[in-house]
Amino acid sequence: MKPILKRLHRYYFIQGEPMIWLTGAGLSLSLLMIMGLIVLVVWRGAGAFWQEDLVLLKTKDEKPVLAEILNREPMPAAEGKPSAGFRIRTKIANRDLNGLDFRWIDEPTIVSRERPKDAVILERQEYGNFHGFLKELVRDGQPLASPAGGSALAELRKLHAEIRPAILKLKAREREEVGAINAELEKERLRVKTAERERPARLAEITAGSERRTAELKVRYEALRESLEKERGLLSATKAVFADAAGQTKEIPVDEIVRIVLPNDLSLPGKLGLYFSRLGEFVFDEPRESNTEGGIFPAIFGTVTMVLMMSIVGVPLGVLTALYLREYAVQGRVVRIVRIAVNNLAGVPSIVFGIFGLGFFVYGIGSSIDKLFFPAALPSPTFGTGGILWCALTLALLTIPVVVVASEEALAAVPRGMREASLAIGATKWQTTYRVVLPAAAPGILTGLILAMARGTGEVAPLMIVGVVKLAPTLPVDSSWPFLHLERKIMHLGFHIYDVGFQSPNIEAALPMVYMTTVLLMLVIVALNLSAILIRNHLRRKLSASVF
C-alpha cells in the first residue's frame, strides 16, 4: 500500500495534477456549452417541419380532440400529494374554434387514442392550422357533387391545385398594379407640392394637370379594384366543409388553404417530401400570421442585401487602414493612436454604433438629404428615418476592425523579399503594393471580408434602431426604378428571431419557426466562419512554403 499512497501524494499535492484537471474542466465546460447549444438549436429546428401523426383523443370529461402530441411530463404535484401520473402537451390547432392552439391533457383522463386515416391538417392563410375531417365541398352554398369514383378529398385536392395558384397570382397582380397606381398618385401629389414651393407662377396650370391625371388614375383604380374583386369572388366561392373532432363544422374557402396534409395516411417518403416542401416554403415564401407562419424570405433577402452593401463600403476602408498600418506608416505615436482607435472601434458596444447611426446617419445626414432632395414629401421622411443604407453604413463602421485585423495579418505574412525585389527593379511603392503585396495578401483580405460578413449577419442591436423592422411591405430591390431602394426598411434574420421569439402574440406556436430561423442564421455564420478558417489555414501553409 505504501508506495501507492506515496505516489498518490506526489501526484496529487506536489505535481499539482488536480489543478491541471480543473483547468481541463474549464475547457470541458466551454466545449459542453457550445455543443449543447448547437445540438439543442439544430434538434429543435430540424423537428419544426416534421409531421407527427394526428391522434384522436377521447377523454373522460372533455370533448374529443384531434391533436399532435408534442411532449409528455409528470403532472405537477398537488399540495402534499405525489404526482399522479403523466400529462401530455398537445397541439389541437383550430384557433378560430378553440381560441388556443395548445392544451395539456392528463393521461389518466384519456379514454382512447386512435389514428384515423382520414384526419386532415389544413395549413391556412389565417388562424393557423385546422385539424378535422372533410365533410363535403360547396360552391355558392350548393353542395358539389363528387365525380363518380372520386372521393371528396381527391376533388378537393384537384380544386385546390387550381384555385390556390390562381389566388396567389391574383394577389401578386393586385400588389403590383395597385402599387403602381398608388406610386403614380403619390407622384402627382408631390408634383403639386413641389410646384407650390418652386414655381408658384405655374401652380394653377400644374395643379389642373395633376388633378386631371389624379382623377384618371382614380377611375383606373376603381376599375381595377372591381375586376379584382370579381375574380376573387369567383375564386373564393368554392368552400370545403370540415368537421372537427367534436363534430363542429367549419366552412373553409379553398383559396385560403395553403396545404392539405393527411398525416396518418403518409408513408415515410411522403413525410420526407412534406418536410422538404415545408422547408422550401420556409426559405422562399413570405411570412404569414404576423411572422409566426409561412416563410422568412424577406428576412433572408434583407440580410443578404444589407451585408453586401456593408461589405462594399467597409472592406475598402478596412484594407486602406491595414495598408496604412503595415505598408505606409512610420511606426510611432500616430500608428499607436490608429491602433488604439481600431481596437476601440472593435470594442465599443454595438448598441453605441446604433445610437450613433441614429443620430448621425438618420437624423443628421438623412434629414439633410430630405431637405435638399425630397422637400415635397416632408414632413414624412424619406431618408430621415431608418433604412437599408443606414443599416449598411452603421454595420460597415462596426465591422471595419475585423477587416483591418485580418488584412494586417495577411499583409504581415507577405515576405519582405517580395517587396524588396519589386522595389529593387524600380517599381514605386504604390506599384509594389498594388501589383505584388495586395495580390499576395488577397486570400487573407478575403478572410477579413468573410469574417466581417459573418459578424454583420449576426448583429442585431444597432440595426433595430436604424432601419430593421418586423415586417417590411416591400423588398429593398425590385423591378421599379431605381431598382435598389436605399431608403427602404428591411427585415433581418437576427431581428426576426428576437421579434418572433419575444414580441409575438403567440410565441408558443411560433417557437419551432424561431428555432429554424436560428438554425438558418447559424448555418450561414458557421459556413462563413469555417470558410474563413479554411482559407486562412491554406494561406498559412502556402506562405510558410514560399520562403525566399
Binding site: W21, L27, A341
Partner: protein, 729 residues
Amino acid sequence: MSTRTSVRIADRLARWVITGGGLLMVGALVLMFVLILLEAIPLWSQPRTKLEAETKLEEAWRVLAAGENEYRELADLACADGVVRVIDLRTGQAIQELRPDEAEGLAFASATRTLTGEYALGLPNGSVLLADGRFTSTFDPSTSARVTTYRLSAGAKIALDAAGRPLTSVAGRTRESGLAVVAGSPEPGVLLAATYSEDDGAQIYDLSEKLAGEKVAVIALDDRAELLAAGTASGKVLFFSFLNRTPEAVGEATLPVSDPAPITAARYLLGGQTLVAGDAKGRLVGIQRIRRTPDAEERVPTVVQRFEPQGAAITALAASSRGKTFLSADAEGDLVTHFATNERTLTKARAAGSTAAVAISPKADGYLAILPGRLASYELTAHHPETSLHALFGKVHYEGYDKPEYNWQSTGGTDDFESKLSLVPLVFGTLKGTLYAMLFAVPVALAAALYTSMFAHRKVKALVKPVVELMAALPSVVIGFVAGLFLSPLIEKATVATLLLFPAVPVFVLIAVALFGLVKDETRKRLPEGTELMLILSVTALAVVSCAFVGPLVETVFFGGDFKAWLLTSTGLKYDTRNSLVISFAMGFAVIPIIFTISEDALSSVPEHLKAASLALGASRWQTAIKVILPTASAGIFSAVMVGFGRAVGETMIVLMATGNTPIMEWSLFNGMRTLAANIAVEIPEAPHGGTLYRVLFLGALLLFLLTFLVNTAAEVMRQRLRKKYSVI
C-alpha cells in the same frame, strides 16, 4: 531613365489616400464620440428667459388671477372690479369684458384660476362662483389665420359664508364627475368649505375649529379637488382631504426654518401631489404627503423639497400644465422659475414692483406677471428642465414615493407623469450583469486557455481552437434567444441543480483525478494523446448529469420541496424567471471565447525556452505553468479580461432577451436588471428626436462609450507593453 509622371502621381495619390484611410479610423472614433456628446450636451443648456412685451393695465382693474392661451396671444384676467377681461397681448387692447350674470354685478373680493382655466371667484357677499373659461382656436381657411375665442361659462354658485362677509381668499374647482369643491376664508380665523352637486345641492362645512387657533392666510386646492391646503400666519400648512366628500384634517407641515413667517402663497403642481408654499421671508418649499415608515398607513404631509429662497415675501405662484415647472414671484418683482422634482432653479428675471399674479403658458414656453399698472409677458426656453446632475445621478424624492430614490421610469400613462431619469439603476444593472457574467466566465475561460496552451496535446489544440472561434462567432441574438426561451425556464425548474453545479464540477474532478493518480505513471504515459481531456470531459458531463438527478432530492430534503418558496420565506428574495443566474451563463457564454482567445494567444507566445528551462530544472508541468508562464503572460491575460469586460458591459441582445429589463437595484442572483445598453434598445424607439429622453439615452451611450474606451485602451496599452517585453526575452 526617369519615372513616368503618371506613375509618380499615382504613387503620390496612393500615399495620400492610404494615409487618409488610416487616419479615418481615428476620425470615425472621434466623430462618434463628438456626435454622441453633442446630442447629450443640450441636457445642460441653461434655461433662458426674456421679457417679451409689457402691456399697460388700468389701475382700477386690480387683477386677482390670470392665465393665457396656448399660442401666447391672449390673456384672461379676473379683475377686482367684477370683470373677466381678455387682453390681446400683441396689441395690448382689452378685446372682451365678461361679467358673469351669476355674480349679479358684484365686484370680486378674491379669485384663483386652475391650470385648465376655471376661476373660483370670491364675492363680497360671502358666495363663491365657479366659472370655466376656455380658449378655442380655429383656422380660418380663407385668410389662413388663427381665430381664437374665449368663453366663460358660469358653474356652481355657493353661498359659503352664512354671515355674508366678503371672502378674502378662495379656491375651488369642479371635478369631472360634476361635483364642485370650494373653500374660502372671510377672515383669518375662519375656514369654510363646501361641496356642491346638481343632485345633492351644497353642503357647507366650517373647518374653523380644526384650525386650532391658526390664522388662515392662503388656501390652495389640488387638480382633482381632493386635497385642500391652508397656509397660516404662523408658517404652517394644514391639509384637509375631500376624498370622502366630508372634509377631514389629514395633518400639517411646518416649514423647516428656525424663524417661522406667515405663508404668503401656496399652489398645487400638476398632478396634485406636490404643494409649493412660500412664506413672507421668501422661502419656498415643496410638500408631499408621504408614509414616514414603510408599513405606516397614514400619509403625513412632509417638506421634501426646498427651493432657492428669494429676497422678499412670495406673493404669487404659478404651476405649469406641462411637468413640474413652477414660477414664484415676490414682493420685489423677482420672477423665478423652478423645477420641482430636482429642486432646480431654471431662470430668474427681475421686474420692478410687487407681483400680484402670475401664470405659466400652457406650453410652458412663457409666462405672465401682473405688476403694478402693467402686465409683463416673458418668454421661457427650458428644453430639459427635468435633468440636472443631481436628477441623473442622485437620489430624488419623486411624487408618490416615501423617500428619495434612484429610479428610472421614463414614460408613464398620464399627462401629469413625472419622468424619473436616474441613470444610477442602469449603471448598477450594467455592473451587476457584467460582474455575474465575469464571475462565471473568467475562471472558466482562463482555465480553458491555460489547459489548451500548456497541457493539451497539439492535436487537441488544433481541434479546440476553431470550436472556440465558432463559439465567438455565434450571434448574441442566438445566445439570448436560447437563454431567454430555453435556459431560463429550465433553470427555474432546476434551480438547485444549477446551483449545485458550481461545487459539483470541482468535487467530481478532484475525486476523478485521485482515482487516475492510482494508475501507474508508466501506464499513464502510454495512453493515447487526448485521453486526459476525454476523461475530464466525461467527468464534467457526469457531474452535470448527476446534478440534474441530485437536485430535486436536495430540494426536497433541504428546501421543503420548493426552492422558490423557501427563498421567499427564509431570505425574502423573489425569484424571477429571467434572472442574473441566466445572464451569468448566457453572457458568460458570449465572453468566454473572447477571454479564451486573447489569453491563449498570450500564453502560447511566451517563449518556448522559458518553459524548457523550468521543466529542465525539475519543475512539474503545473509548477511551470503557474510560476513561469502565467506571470510572463499576465499582461496579456489582464488585457483579455479587460476586453471581455468591455464586451459584457455593452452586450445588448442577451440582456434584452434573458432578463426582465426591470431597473431594480438589488444584488440578488435571482432577479434581473436593466443595463445601459438594453435600456437604449428598449427606449430609443419611443424617444422623440431632440427630447429629454432621447438626449438622456445618448448620455447613457456616452457613458458606455467612455467606459469601454477606457477599458479597451488599457487593454491595448497592456498588449503593446507585452509585445515589447517578449521582444526583450
